[in-house]
Structure formats: structure tokens, C-alpha cells
Symmetry: C2
Subunit: 201 residues, 2 copies
Amino acid sequence: MGRRNEHTREELREISLQAAEQLVAAHGLAGLSTRKVVASIGYTVGSLYMVFRNLDDLIVQMNERTLDALYGKLATAVANRPSPVAAIQALAQAYLSFALVETNRWLALYEHRLPEGQTVTDPFTEKVARMFELVQHHLALLCPQRPAADIALAARALWSGIHGICVLSLDRKLESVGGRSMQEVAGSLLDNYLAGFVGRN
Amino acid sequence: MGRRNEHTREELREISLQAAEQLVAAHGLAGLSTRKVVASIGYTVGSLYMVFRNLDDLIVQMNERTLDALYGKLATAVANRPSPVAAIQALAQAYLSFALVETNRWLALYEHRLPEGQTVTDPFTEKVARMFELVQHHLALLCPQRPAADIALAARALWSGIHGICVLSLDRKLESVGGRSMQEVAGSLLDNYLAGFVGRN
DNA sequence: ACCTGAACACCGTTCAAGT
DNA sequence: ACCTGAACACCGTTCAAGT
């Protein structure tokens, strides 16, 4: 057998990633497998390994696409905001809303762990850094005379905080009882942190 | 074959959980399997199902033990603190330090997802709630005349924030570049949030 | 009652063989 | 060069059979 040649290498990569994204969106990262991907694109197991090094490689590439989509949402959300505070609030809301709408794909970003020794790929860290700088930039606009180290620390605290709110809100295991929305909690975090940060130069 | 009777049901449960904890501590949740557990305690696959409903059940029970250990650390850390703020800081530091020391077991709390329809067990949510109330209690001491809803919201924001800092710091994938320690970032979050929260009644 | 181990349905990965 | 599908080593879960 063999020799179908219906798709180029690049097309095969594309439809594989699309199939993976659909599987993850529908059933979570745990519902993804090489055999399900190839079944849904009409190929057999071996073919996946022509295009991806292994399943981890496929997941990393899928997650890179998710990061790109997330960055797109953040970038448009932050554009043309009247003030740095409004910009930061818009970033947080966009992050929450992406996590809420694309829950399973967003979760896959954090659920996937590389095997023991392996380290993360460069484009991946670059995409993460790019998002992080979005926050940092608007925080610097808010407090122009603050040293860069202060800004970096605050950006990291806020970013991590918003992220934590998403994680715990979307994980029904830890969703602590009192039913407040993600948005409320995030608003409280931002408002109070920024009040403290700005007020204490 | 059969009939060994070297261990009671309860002993079997105990050594299985201990073996699981060792496997997770050494290789992460992904390194845990029913077959590895039984191999390390000298039984065969079938025996596990005398004591646990399935692997998920074993993991949930293991995670409950981790939650108990974490609660113990938090409770002793918070005891006899001179002020509510000191108590809250001690809680945060204890949480960070547990995550840092028991990284893989702590990660397993969040990595494990129940299968599709299944919901979380009651003792589990209760243990989470108990930890959460620790924060809430000391926040209430800090601001006695604030309405309970404010306190609950703040506790959730802070708790989620500290959690997010742990998650992102321990995940090498997302560890944003500038190398600040978890403790520094958490300190920044607490100090600024509390300054904002207390100052704005 | 306790425990085994074969059996089944999955899984990721490799690779000789076919076109 | 492309693709298949058998093969291998794993996995979770069940259950007839043994003591």
C-alpha cells in the first residue's frame, strides 16, 4: 500500500492540527490520541510520524497555535484604550473570556507536561514572553517614573494572579464555595493591587 | 493461586497509597500507573480493584492525603502570629513552600482531571473549603467591620493569586523571563492588594 | 474471601514492506 | 517518496479460576 499523495506535507500537518484541536475542544487533552487524529483525517498511525516527531510535538505545535489565538484576542482587546488602567483591565477580561470560551484548548496549554528531561521550545517561550510584555508595557505607561524592576515584578504578580483566578474558577475541584464570577474576583484583584501599587510609589 | 492474606484491606490501601505517592513524587502524575503500584507492593493488577474503584479513585484518595498534609503546614504556619497581616503572609509562604518542596504531589492536585461526567467527591471539596476559610478568617480579623461578602471576595482573589504565582513559577513552560523568586512575587501581590483593600474600605 | 493472571480494548512508536 | 499495517511494549479494567 501507500502512495496516496492527496495532501502535501504542509496540508497533512494542517489537517492533523485541526483534527487535534477539535478533539481537544470536544473532550479535553485526555481525549486526544494519535490514533484518533489519524482516524479523523483518514490516514493510518504511521503517517503522523512523517509530519510530527511524536505526540508531544503535535501537542506543542497545537498549543503554539492556541497561544497565537490568545495573543490575537489580547492585542485587539487592548487597542485604543483611553488609559493604562483601562488597557490592563481589558487585557484581564480578554484573558478570562478566552479561558471561558476556549476552555479545553486553554487548559491544554497548562495540562501538557513535557517528558522528564525535555525542555520547552524557543518559539513557545517567545510567544509567552510576548503576551507578558503586553501587560508590562501598559503598567509602565501607568507609572512612568517607576524603575523597570518594579514594573516587571508588578506585571508578573498581576498576570499570575489573573491566571490563578482562571485556573481555580474553571477547575470544579477547587472552585471554593461562595459563587462569585471570575470577572468579579479578577476585578477585585486588579483594583486593589493597582490602588496599592500606584499609591505607594 | 490467591490467598496471601499478608495484609488487611486497610493495610493494602495504605501501602498502595504510599507507593503511589512515591511514584508521583519521583516521576510526576504521568509516571503513575496501576501496574507500577502493584509491582512495587508485590501484588498483581487485579488486587488494586479490591481496594480502589479504579485508578481515578486511587488518585483522588492520594490527593486527599496531600490536601491534609498541606492543611497541616498551613495551620501550624498561621498559629500564634502577632497580626492578621502576618498570619496571611505566613499562610502564603507556607503554601509556596509546600508547592516548592512537594512539587510533584502538589501538581498532582491540579493535573488530575476527573473523567467527563464525573463530579468531585465531598470530602475533597470540604478539605479545600477548610483551607480557604483559613485565609478568610484572618482577613476578617484584619477588617472586622467589612461585610462578609467583601471578605469572601478578597480571600478568593488573594488565594487564587498566590496559587497562580505557584503554578506559573513551577511550570518551566510559562516561567516568564525576568527571574524573580516566587516569594518576591507573592510578597508584592499581598502587600499591594492588602494596601488597596484596607485603604479603600 | 482473597488473589492471580489471562483477556480485552485501548495507547504511542517503529519499521519492513508495498506502491 | 509516501503510506500502510503489523509488531512491540505499554496501559486500565474485568473476571473466571484457583486456594
